[in-house]
């Protein structure tokens, strides 16, 4: 798999909220990060659990990419993230850039550049950081957890 198809595969799996399909695109020790929010997931298992948690917040979510380029193992894209969170009445839409690096056909690092400011209520808490409990039980039980950390956590 070359980098550009890796991006497309990621975008498709993300839009389908298919956490297993997203996780399958990543290398074992991959990094999935939101650099501007200071949040990151390390390793395929953490990525799967974290994204499951993030997807649980959203009724729907998808990136619309306006342009993308690849060079060597890196792909950089710009576009918008469109999402409708369960807790919100209205959908949200925000500019975003994605940087993706592959190694041996798998995604080794994926960084999504989103602003922290306009959506504080969403981004203040961990969007996809896994809880202790879900670390112990990386599958199955995650979806049953409350999508929001209680205030103060």
């Amino acid at each position: 798999m070359t980098t550009a198809p890796a991006l497309q595969a990621y975008l498709d799996a993300f839009a389908a909220k298919n956490v297993e399909a997203v996780a399958a695109l990543f290398a074992e020790g991959a990094v999935y990060e939101l650099p501007l929010l200071g949040q990151r997931l390390v390793g395929r298992r953490e990525i799967e659990a974290g994204l499951a948690r993030a997807f649980a917040l959203a009724e729907r979510c998808a990136f619309e990419i306006s342009a993308a380029q690849s060079s060597g193992t890196a792909t950089i894209a710009e576009g918008r993230l469109k999402a409708k969170l369960h807790r919100d009445r209205d959908p949200v839409e925000m500019p975003a850039a994605i940087v993706l690096q592959t190694r041996d056909g798998a995604i080794a690092r994926l960084s999504t550049y989103l602003d922290a400011r306009p959506y504080r209520l969403w981004s203040d808490g961990p969007i996809f950081a896994v809880t202790r409990r879900s670390r112990k039980h990386p599958t199955g039980s995650i979806h049953a957890e409350r999508p929001h950390a209680p205030p103060g956590h």
Binding site: A74, E78, M94, P95, A97, Y113, L114, D115, A116, R117
Partner: protein, 497 residues
């Protein structure tokens, strides 16, 4: 530099020039009609001129810049890059515990090049460190200005409590951006906390003269005066601007002191036929070289005819107000005092609209500029503890005008000579925030206190204003003690500019 850049070269050249603060190298990279997009800030700059103005301001506010490009891709007319930015802001003093102020973030940049020039530059980076969205916790024991909603919309994040009112101080701009707006364009300040002690009645001028130190014998309606109110020991209570909007009416537009309560207590003696109150008058300041152009279309009275330290009662945007050519910027500007806070937000909106062509910025008082100009503010419970002679305001005391509060004490001080004086300081090195006054001493151990300390954008160095022993001479070296060390400073005259 090659005359026709590829998109990749454009990104490399821009980042390299930015890191070296070489604004002159950045200008030629952009096409005349280029756009500079900051999607995460909802910002877009149009045209090379505007891009370069903002670039120069940004570079002026940053030092020790490092830009590392991790990945660059290029296809056709477009290049993408991911990189890391690090810089240290100037004019935002480091934390008092010594941690340096720093600005660092990862970013994605996109450059589109046509005919060798950048026509679109897009940068994705987080502005949260620059522009905190949260503001100080607010409690109902302190009053709000009637422009509260306007300052919230403008993004206020920090307040001072002043005359028992929340005073918006910090917005989402860097100090360099605010200084540029004040000195090159125009700024709007919510100074609703600047309260008026209203003295009304046939003895208004006489009572004001008794309460303050300057001679008011020649005061005519439409005049303003910078003056001082002292306590019986001659200590400064505050240094208000006196306005005489019409016959039998005086406003003392005062700093952080309970001047109206003080004045009401004095009026209880019954010697003056006056009525004292704090009216519902919350001023705004419009400061900067374009202030006159912002106010001209809104103000019924001809704005050109308002002289320096004069005022007129008129309508601004249809709202009854006193307009004075006064302010706290040490430069061109006006204050607008609507006669009631009913309609205050309409006035605010009208001013914002009128300011749009001049890119008027909503700011708090810009202390960096005030200190450069030697403009200060004395408050009874904090930075007073001094008389007008010590404050450098001896010219504002008229001992021969007749009886006034503090006169005997001031006459004695004038005869003996003041024990201290107010001077300027050129301070070595960068400064922490001034959270309380810093002690200083000269080589002979004579003590003093730094009461104002800022970065001077005009002089590109740290400056301060101190109250020192009267024997300390201009040109002398002193040593001051702030939370990060004990730098030397050279004593100088005021103002700095």
């Amino acid at each position: 530099m090659p005359s026709a850049l590829t998109p990749r070269q454009a990104i490399e050249a821009y980042c390299s020039a930015f890191a070296r603060r070489a604004a002159d190298e950045i200008g030629p990279l952009f096409a005349e009609n280029a756009v500079f997009d900051l999607p995460l800030q909802d910002g877009r700059l149009h045209g090379r001129e505007q891009i370069m103005r903002e670039t120069r301001t940004a570079l002026r506010g940053l030092k020790n810049i490092e830009v590392v490009l991790d990945h660059i891709t290029e296809q056709g007319s477009t290049a993408f890059a991911e990189g890391y930015f690090h810089g240290e802001p100037i004019g935002i003093p480091p934390h008092v515990d010594g941690r340096p102020a720093r600005l660092d973030f990862k970013f994605v940049a996109v450059a589109v090049v046509e005919d060798g020039k950048v026509t679109r530059w897009t940068e994705y980076f987080d502005t949260k460190p620059l522009k905190p969205r949260e503001h100080t916790r607010i409690y109902p024991i302190t009053r709000r200005s009637p422009y509260w909603q306007g300052t919230e919309e403008a993004g206020v994040s920090e307040f001072m409590i002043y005359n028992h009112v929340y005073f918006p101080l910090v917005y989402h701009h860097s100090p360099a951006e605010e200084y540029a707006a004040l000195t090159e364009r125009v700024t709007l300040w919510d100074v609703g906390c600047e309260r008026q002690t209203e003295i009304a009645g046939p003895d208004a001028v006489a009572f004001a003269s008794y309460l303050t130190t300057r001679d008011l014998a020649k005061l005519k309606p439409g005049d303003c005066r910078y003056t001082i109110a002292c306590d019986p020991e001659g200590q400064i209570i505050c240094d208000p601007v006196l306005l005489h909007p019409k016959k039998d009416l005086i406003w003392l537009s005062h700093g952080d002191a309970d001047l109206t309560l003080w004045a009401r207590g004095i009026a209880l003696q019954g010697r003056y036929e006056v009525e004292l109150r704090e009216p519902d008058v919350a001023p705004l300041q419009i400061q900067g070289p374009h202030a006159i152009e912002v106010l001209r279309p809104l103000t019924e009275a001809p704005i050109e005819q308002i002289g320096f330290y004069k005022c007129v009662t008129t309508r601004v945007a249809g709202i009854e107000a006193v307009v004075s050519r006064t302010g706290w910027s040490g430069g061109p500007g006006y204050e607008v005092f609507p006669l009631s806070s009913h309609g205050a937000m309409d006035l605010w909106q009208a001013l914002r609209e009128a300011g749009r062509p001049f890119e008027m910025m909503v700011v708090g008082p810009i202390v960096d500029r005030a200190v450069e100009k030697g403009v200060t503010d004395t408050a009874y419970h904090s930075n007073s503890g001094m008389n007008p002679y010590e404050a450098g305001h001896g010219r504002l005391v008229d001992l021969d005008k007749g009886e006034f509060v503090g006169r005997d004490a001031l006459a004695r001080i004038a005869a003996e000579g003041p024990k201290r004086k107010t001077v300027g300081l050129f301070i070595e090195g960068d400064l922490p925030r001034l959270e309380w006054y810093w002690p200083l001493e000269d080589e002979r151990g004579r003590a003093g206190e730094v009461r104002w300390a800022v970065h001077s954008w005009a002089l590109d160095r740290s400056i301060g204003i101190a109250l020192v022993d009267a024997a300390v001479a201009i040109g002398e070296t002193v040593r001051l003690h702030h939370p990060l060390g004990s730098p030397r400073a050279t004593v100088t005259d005021l103002p700095f500019l």
